[in-house]
């Protein structure tokens, strides 16, 4: 089944500049329906109030981190299979394990390039 490029993607990061970068890279790949949030709490609201098909989130945010957002999302049966990719500077083994245990679908380390983003999107969504 081919990937619908009109899918709705939520990008979560407390650095607005990083949101711009990710949004532009997604646009380059043909994804244009992008929502934004600057912390986990605002992201959770967007997920509950909109149809979101993919979450791409940073880890280090206040008041709710990306990991806590992931855990909250996975608590709800409705979002058990919502694709969730972490893009973060947190690169210790413990971080990756914690995210995996919490149900993340893939994990990208900052700084990252467009090819890595594309590859992880393919891993999670399928070929496009």
């Amino acid at each position: 089944m081919s990937v619908d490029k009109n899918m709705s993607i939520l990008v979560v990061d407390d650095y607005k500049t990083m949101i711009r970068i990710i949004k532009n890279l997604l646009n380059q790949l043909g994804f244009r329906n992008i929502h934004e949030a600057t912390n986990g709490e605002l992201a959770l609201e967007k997920i509950k109030n909109n149809k979101i098909d993919l979450v791409i989130s940073d880890w280090n945010m206040e008041p709710m981190s990306g990991l806590d957002l992931l855990k909250e999302v996975r608590k709800d049966e409705k979002y058990q299979s919502l694709p969730f990719i972490m893009i973060t500077a947190e690169s210790k083994v413990d971080n990756v394990i914690a995210a995996k245990k919490a149900g993340v679908n893939n994990y990208i380390i900052k700084p990252f390039n467009a090819d890595t983003l594309k590859q992880k999107l393919i891993n999670v969504l399928g070929e496009f």
Partner: protein, 212 residues
């Protein structure tokens, strides 16, 4: 000898209670001086002289520690230097963020122009380069996080310095402090304090040749 040690401990407790749990350096020096004087009166043998010499060494070390701490000008560090570090690092983050946004604006404009180009090969080449520009802008997020880590460390240093100053009632060595404040090498001023080129030109033009 026990009565000398006990008397020392009683005085120590009295001073600590009087100062709310603190012992100031000068008071510690006086206590040790009293202890050494009392030990000197009490001792008469060679072995006891050795003990007395060791206690004198402690007294000298305390005195030197006091002088050393004053020459570090910890009050200047707490009141001026650490706030400067925090402000400078915040400026770095802000400037990097502003510059990154300008770069991203330019990359977005370049990408937008490709919709007017018919030759797909040229479009692909332009998009490839525009993508590289966006990828490179990742640096700003990482730099910001590194600066935040450094700022947290400075918070801890600030707290430790203040504790040290209050526990030992340390005053800055005035000569050392004056010398550090006189330096002409200060680096760029903070944005809010930075004069304009016109203001610099005015100052420059006001300096009379006879003053040179």
């Amino acid at each position: 000898m026990d009565h000398i040690i006990n008397h020392f401990l009683e005085q120590l407790t009295e001073i600590s209670n009087k100062n709310g749990g603190k012992i100031f350096l000068e008071e510690a020096e006086d206590l040790v001086k009293n202890l050494t004087d009392n030990i000197k009166l009490y001792t008469s043998s060679e072995n006891k002289d050795e003990l007395y010499k060791e206690v004198l060494k402690i007294k000298e070390k305390l005195k030197q520690a006091s002088v050393d701490m004053e020459s570090l000008v910890p009050n200047k560090i707490a009141e001026e230097d650490i706030p400067i570090v925090t402000a400078e690092l915040s400026e770095v983050t802000k400037a990097a963020e502003n510059a990154t946004n300008i770069i991203i604006d330019a990359a977005e404009n370049i990408i937008a122009i490709t919709s007017k180009i018919k030759e797909m090969e040229i479009v692909d080449t332009i998009n490839t380069h525009a993508t590289k520009i966006l990828e490179a802008c990742n640096f700003q997020d990482i730099s910001g996080q590194r600066v935040s880590k450094v700022l947290k460390i400075f918070d801890d240093i600030d707290r430790l310095t203040n504790n040290l100053i209050h526990s030992f009632d340390i005053k800055d060595d005035p000569e050392v402090r004056k010398a550090k404040e006189k330096s002409l090498v200060n680096g760029p001023q903070l944005t809010k304090d930075k004069p304009s080129q016109e203001e610099i030109d005015d100052i420059f033009n006001q300096v009379d040749n006879k003053d040179l």
